[in-house]
């Protein structure tokens, strides 16, 4: 399995797989455009703009959770090579999040800065969504190997823990926006909780080792630095 995961072709395949949601959406929209936007595609519903908004939002949360699932899966299944996919999956979360944001900026607010600012301040679900996206920006910017080097791995790692808060804000954003049927946001929240509990457990389990490391070599750089 690790060999398959190491292959460049597997990475290309995963990349293409991550693109399929947007390609599918683009294909359907193209079909609608060919009919001069007058037709009716049951998949796009009678309100294609609402559909695009929900679709890109859904995929953003999904990719956030998939990216957050990489480390637990890597450890549980003992597949170190899975780590190669984490950056790409995280960047796809950013990509779909950006499309989601632009759907709102363009097709909902029509680039009206006054309305956008008002909404961000006044509507708490938009505040949460905007927070989720804003937290992803520094992570996308520092996603390159160059930035890992420049920041040093430990500092880079700490910065990238912002993704936990981004995912939490994204789930809250979804929860606050639905009218009454909260099953889907709760499901995403549940998955996020499991992924975070795994990290908490792993952190607690490694506590004695950290203590020992600290006690035996006081000169080593502490993780808290």
């Amino acid at each position: 399995m690790n060999r398959v995961l190491s292959s460049r072709w597997t990475k290309v395949a995963v990349f293409l797989l991550c693109l399929t949601p947007i390609l599918l959406l683009g294909w359907r929209l193209l079909g609608l455009a060919r009919q001069g936007w007058q037709g009716y595609d049951p998949k796009l519903t009678a309100d294609p703009i609402a559909y695009i908004t929900h679709y890109t939002g859904d995929w953003t949360i999904r990719f956030l959770l998939i990216a957050l699932g990489v480390t637990p899966l890597r450890k549980l299944l003992d597949l170190p090579k899975l780590a190669r996919y984490r950056r790409m999956l995280g960047l796809f979360a950013f990509f779909y999040g950006f499309l989601h944001l632009m759907t709102w900026v363009w097709l909902d607010k029509f680039f009206d800065p006054h309305e956008m600012v008002k909404d961000v301040i006044k509507r708490r679900f938009i505040t949460a969504g905007m927070t989720a996206f804003a937290l992803l920006i520094p992570l996308a910017v520092t996603s390159t190997s160059g930035w890992v080097r420049r920041l040093g791995f430990l500092r880079w790692q700490r910065l990238h823990r912002l993704v936990y808060f981004s995912a939490l804000a994204a789930v809250i954003h979804y929860y606050w926006l639905v009218k009454s049927d909260v099953r889907l946001p709760l499901m995403y929240g549940g998955i996020l909780a499991v992924l975070m509990l795994y990290r908490a457990a792993a952190w607690l389990r490694s506590a004695p080792r950290r203590e020992r490391a600290k006690a035996t070599s006081p000169n080593t750089v502490s993780l808290r630095d």
Partner: protein, 309 residues
């Protein structure tokens, strides 16, 4: 199944008047209800004949039939807007019975036949504004609610009209997840209910109502947000006190009793200033009372519509 109409055609152009009149003469104004009994598909509708035009109709472009029947909220059948069209197909709407009682001199129980014959049917092409900030133009067929209310003779104690939807967990299994209590209940003040715009609809686009749009008959209150227009009505009661309403019970700070379309009063979570007309790209400005102010604004004179949202 049903032949689709090209969406760029206006409804009035779909059936040439000559054809319409010929058919009407042929059927001699009789209402063909027979096929209703065997309604098994969501779109198993029957043509309604002898329908009058109404001066209350808008001449705006009607939303295509497909959009009206495949994009709406009917939480008993699921909370996605595509769910009612998917899940309401097997809903049994015949036989049907509606009890009309409470503070009235002459309580009534209506069966389907009685409902369709209660008053002359009219086509009313109304704007429909959902609280979620989208809108449609819908060619309903029905009769004014006041025709029914006059029949039962409300007593002096009757101040409000309370409506209750049909609910059957077996037929509406998706309703369990809706997050709101069923049966769905709604209400109007008696003077609102007597307003000639308040419609009891039995049809859509020239045919009986498809299940997903609230068959066999529903309320349409065009100057209020869509959720006030209760579907698949099973009971109507005239009452003295303001009756409970489902969305108000579920989220009182978001949905009030009146729920008049009002661009000046935002939903706490989103603005009501604009709306997206289904089929259009840019948003439209929402008009107070959904553009029916000249008919209904006087009902609310002296009321603070911010408090009575």
């Amino acid at each position: 199944m049903v032949t689709r109409k090209p969406s760029d055609l206006r409804y009035s152009q779909v059936t040439p008047k000559q054809v319409y009149l010929n058919r009407r003469r042929f059927l001699a104004g009789s209402i063909a209800l027979g096929a209703l009994a065997g309604a098994s598909s969501a779109l198993a509708t029957t043509k309604l004949n002898g329908v009058k035009k109404s001066p209350f109709s808008t001449d705006e472009q009607a939303t295509p039939f497909d959009a009206i029947t495949h994009y709406n909220n009917f939480y008993e059948f699921g909370t996605d807007k595509e769910d009612p069209g998917r899940n309401a197909g097997k809903f049994v709407t015949s036989p049907w019975s509606v009890k009309v009682d409470g503070e009235v001199a002459k309580p009534l129980t209506l069966d389907l036949d009685a409902i369709f014959k209660l008053a002359p049917l009219e086509e009313r092409i109304y704007r429909h504004r959902c609280v979620e900030a989208w809108s449609m133009v819908i060619p309903w067929i029905g009769f004014p609610l006041n025709a029914l209310l006059k029949k039962v003779e409300p007593t002096s104690k009757a101040k409000y009209v309370a409506f209750e939807s049909y609910f059957d967990r077996k037929q509406m299994p998706q309703g369990v997840w809706a997050g709101i209590p069923f049966p769905y209940v709604e209400g109007l003040r008696l003077d609102e209910a007597m307003n000639p715009l308040a419609l009891l609809a039995v049809g859509l686009y020239g045919e009986t109502l498809p299940n997903q749009n609230g068959a066999p008959f529903r309320l349409v209150v065009p100057w209020k947000y869509g959720f006030k227009s209760i579907k698949s009505i099973a009971r109507i009661r005239l009452v003295e006190k303001q009756p409970p309403t489902t969305w108000n019970l579920s989220a009182p700070q978001e949905y009030g009793f009146y729920s008049n379309v009002n661009p000046e009063v935002d939903h706490p979570r989103w603005s009501q200033a604009k709306e997206r007309r289904i089929g259009e790209f840019a948003k439209r400005l929402t008009v107070k009372f959904n553009g029916y102010g000249s008919e209904v604004a006087s009902l609310y004179s002296g009321m603070d519509l911010r408090k009575n949202y």
